[in-house]
Symmetry: C2
Subunit: 419 residues, 2 copies
Amino acid sequence: MTAKDAYEPLTAETLGARLAGIDLLAGKVGPDPTQWDVQEVGDGNLNLVFIVKGPQGAAIVKQALPYVRLVGDSWPLPLYRAFYEYHALTREAARDPGAVPEVWHFDETQALVVMEFLSPHRILRQKLIAGERVDGLAERLGLFCARTGFRGSELSMKSADKKADVGLFSGNVEIPAITEGLVFTDPYFEAELNNHTPGLDPVIKILRDDPALKARAQRMLLKFSANTETLLHGDLHSGSVMATEDDVRVIDPEFAQYGPLGFDIGMLTANYLMAYFSQPGHRGDDLAAYQDWLLEVIEGTFAAYEAEFTRLWDNERTGMLYPAALFEDQGHSSAAARTELLAEIWQDAVSICGIEMHRRCLSLAHNADFEEIADPAIRAPLEARNLMMGRDLILNAAKIDSPRALTDLARQHNGKDVL
Amino acid sequence: MTAKDAYEPLTAETLGARLAGIDLLAGKVGPDPTQWDVQEVGDGNLNLVFIVKGPQGAAIVKQALPYVRLVGDSWPLPLYRAFYEYHALTREAARDPGAVPEVWHFDETQALVVMEFLSPHRILRQKLIAGERVDGLAERLGLFCARTGFRGSELSMKSADKKADVGLFSGNVEIPAITEGLVFTDPYFEAELNNHTPGLDPVIKILRDDPALKARAQRMLLKFSANTETLLHGDLHSGSVMATEDDVRVIDPEFAQYGPLGFDIGMLTANYLMAYFSQPGHRGDDLAAYQDWLLEVIEGTFAAYEAEFTRLWDNERTGMLYPAALFEDQGHSSAAARTELLAEIWQDAVSICGIEMHRRCLSLAHNADFEEIADPAIRAPLEARNLMMGRDLILNAAKIDSPRALTDLARQHNGKDVL
């Protein structure tokens, strides 16, 4: 390997010279890198992110670092995650055209992806904290979950293609391990990297003193880690979505892995619920109306998911699962089979939603929705509502039989203080 | 590749000259291949199997053929299955020492495994047809399923090791595809390779006219094909077991793949039940006593499974799942979590059992238990009982809450004619 080939993190100063040879980038931004304006804007937990602006346009350059940026080089993390992110982006683009940024270049050695700069899009989480609405949000992400889920499964794919892809993604160990630990296990014991808002101890004690709750969380971990139903985005929270007032795009699938169909939509729902429970720390007069809108988004997301899943079931069921030979070709409807499968996906989503609500307040990587409430005396009771609702979802998933039942439960917890 | 390296099927005549250079084989059988007595004895569906006897001992040489032997070269099948069989044998030997034949040599290019010759062992299925008992059968195979299941999962394994192994086995596509088609789907429509005993049509109509039953079978196919809980044997029927009157060994794991914990023990149970329902075609005076023994074997297998799973849970729970940090270290028992997981494994086993009972009478590869009943007028009503019990297991798995409930159900179906 020559020095040119060895991995080296980019800087705003070196980026122009190092990436000038990428024709597609030069074509999009402008041919002369001395005219490029480069800013490092990575505010996430893991990577370098540069915005490159030139006379002809702009691009994003995302480069993996060999460690967790949030923690530092004491927590190494393989560069290969850029490889999986690239493969996830191309699959998502094929399965749900227009949902993700266009990829212009991938360099495996440098662990970098060059892609479309989304503008004037902003991170959805910041818009939700600011009380902004996004037209079509529910429908767009419901479609995304249904299309990537269905089309990435053996409901649609040829088995040989899907199994080869499971083999490809099985090389990714460290990234799923982060989710396995931080999401499913750390909230329920005193893990080293945990932190939580002062005052939450009584609620945390309720969670950790409940072996039935911990058993359900671990059962979901078994489903998450030993299940290849479809290729997940793997980290579909409101920080992985960029939006304008009426356009929505999904970014950052570096946690992509095979897993249960209900995972992405379950995690997304949890992040809407955390937006919901945190709103009293951000809103005044318009609080109730905005909270109502957030619950409408949740219901609308599942409605869009179910409608699209049904449409794909009826029109694109080309995999080996639930073949027409057993149903339609014999004069039998497969609608009941689909309803039964959707009910199982829903149950998984509800349980995962509850777990995600816990880990975001108790484990390492907290949400800005709560973190930006500066006063812990205001933050703690809101987080407590969120934690108690998560507990309900995990323990009573089987009894929560519809999105409406879930949003009704949210309203109950929103008015019920446990601290 | 030289001619010496190219794959070429062995014959009884060429085996000695071609394998004389394998030191471990020569050491076990004798150094002079001209003194070897070689017989081809493959009576299975897929492979060449040779017994090699010499002055010092004997060995088995098993070589894959590039097609399905049962069907002919119109159904090609990759030679790589020998590679997976070899890896499965070594993992089974490590996880349940003494359960499988010792492997002495593996040649990937020739797709052959040289291993211990088991004598005076005979195929368990033939012993069951002959009305012979095997002491310790239930315990031995209950232990095998529990040990390979538990120790091959992330209850025990380090995640990185398990995920790497999932990647290794994900290269195996065609072998799982056989199970996926023949077991889960073909019984429920007029698949090209199907055959069944004349007279069964009314029962087959009941099965194929039931979309709820077909939906359950397909739900289990989704679990089978998109689940990596543990490394399965994958074909654990009574033809994959060799026994004396008191020794039991498991052979032929070429269908090994990652799948649900309940799969192997479910398929095994189905084969005991088919032995049970077929007995009136083979036995006279001792019929009732022998049938009772078969049901005792089923109950004993699950009892041994549960006891060993519990022992391993308490002593070898070293994987990331259900860690002591969440239970014992916090002063909480994990027994309820284990019981809940065992109940789910049981439910999967019951459903898979029912499906296996169907496919062995309706799909391509039938069981000698029924096939050796020459008179279709005797065979058909016995197969009908078996099919109707399989239907009960699939439709009512959730209500069959114990091995005793399952054996009680078998007794009911044994006395109930539907034809």
